[in-house]
Amino acid sequence: MATLCKNCSHALVFNPESQLLECSYCGSSFRPEEIESEAKEFRQDLKAESMNEVYGTEIEKFMDCYVYSCSECGGEIIVNGTEASTTCVYCGNPNVVFSRIARQKCPEYVLPFSVTKEQAIELVRGKISKGFFIPKQIKEFSPECVRGIYVPYWIVNATFSNAVIVYGKTGRGKYAEVNHYGRAGDLELKNFPVDASRALSDESSSKLEPFNLSHLKPFDEDYLAGFYSNVSDVTYGDVKNAVFKRAQKYFDEEVQDNVRAEKTKILHSCPSLKLDSDMVYAMMPVWFITLKHKRKHVTILVNGDTGKVVCGIPLDKSRFYPILFGLGILLTAAAFALFYYTFFILAIAPLLTYFLGAGIIVLFSMGIRKIVRAMRSIKLAQDNDMFTFMKKRQG
């Protein structure tokens, strides 16, 4: 289950910095493509046994648990139904579940980690140290758990076709006209990555984009050594839904750019999607970093290739709300003084009052939209499913 050093038979671990498999015992290093594991074929035939079968039980919470034995120490390794690589809880050595990545299920490509664990933590520190509304405890965080996980992705090409009716306004004043516009066409998406793990939400995984696909390497299980990984467990329906949502967004943006009218709105559409059959199965690197804040877990994601940090950090309420209301009262007082002494201008120019009213509504809605957006990200980072996806691993 583990790739062993040719010189001392100790388990090798992939180092993102050198892009080599390294032996911590004798210091040897090897390129993953160089390693020819004679035992690979034999190991592919080793199947993980169901935990309930091994122990002769019928416990529901063990339904998705499988048992392997560590090639280094013989200790029991427990993996869930979709895990492809893990570490031994007793000796800490990396282990790959070969039967999960064999033949038909084997990924075609892997994007090796190029950001190390230390670099990932530094990147996160760099991002959150500048945040004005980030609590001091979080700025000085020590990560509770850091895990490098290869997340499965399907890279797809697709054709999205749609016919839409757009409502739009042209002209101003007495020349204003409301019209309907028709647009029909196809949108081709190329190399679009879709997260193939049900446990990880699409909203979180899509924020990790873009991945640099030119760095993809032909799959070799040795890249998984030292990291955790999952295999694909999504259906065609899941992939279609993810591609459909994004393609429709791009198509709608293109249509609205194409229609020469203001305040455009799509009234009706007849969309359809066709996925190309040449879908590519690849493993993408992601660092999952968790920290605890006020009894809640916050999960921060770092793209293991580009180093992009994705997270919604809880806000410092003791700073945010006083500033919001203090600033509001201060600006209200200043605006009152201004409006009180210049009210005669507003009285003789009612149009100015309308513009002011419209401006106030726009400011409010833009501000609230930004707060809601940030709050949604914060909620997502505290999502239990994402924490369980990362945490529920042996090691």
């Binding site: 029909a184 196809d186 694909s232 259906t235 059959s277 600033l327 600006l331 707060i371 940030a374 990200s377």
Partner: protein, 135 residues
């Protein structure tokens, strides 16, 4: 009194509106890190419009959808409930043959609109107006 009330109302809206905007922008910038996704250019999302109609009336807009919805559904592929996997060579061949039968020609400005009314609406606006003016 009315002036006081109106100035107060406007000032309250303006003051808190601006405060919400400033704090919202700052919160989004400081706490919402990496909230972006790949855009259309990242995935070479090229749109080819096969039909464009401007200034349609309500009746024609309903007809437009019926005529231009191509419905390129993937009927030859595996079912939506199947787990995604790499297709075997035989499955790929079967799918390609089925697709050939159902595919309509694609390309720039290939219009499927064949109705008599289509001519009336597919010509650019300036041409249509000139025609109306001349006749």
């Amino acid at each position: 009194m009315i002036i006081n009330f109106l100035a107060g109302l406007l000032a309250l809206g303006f003051g808190f509106g601006l405060a919400f905007w400033i704090c919202g922008t700052q919160l989004d910038k400081s706490n919402n890190i990496g909230d972006s996704r790949g855009d259309g250019t990242t995935y070479n999302a090229e749109t080819t419009f096969t039909s464009k109609c401007n200034r349609m009336d309500r009746a024609w807009s309903r007809e437009y959808l019926n005529q231009h919805a191509t419905g390129k559904e993937d009927t030859a592929g595996p079912s939506d409930q199947d787990q995604v996997r790499r297709l075997t060579e035989e499955e790929r061949r079967k799918k390609a043959t089925a697709e050939k039968k159902t595919n309509v020609p694609k390309g720039a400005f290939v219009s499927k609109n064949t109705s008599a009314a289509a001519d009336k609406y597919d010509v650019p606006d300036w041409e249509k107006r000139t025609e109306e003016f001349l006749h």
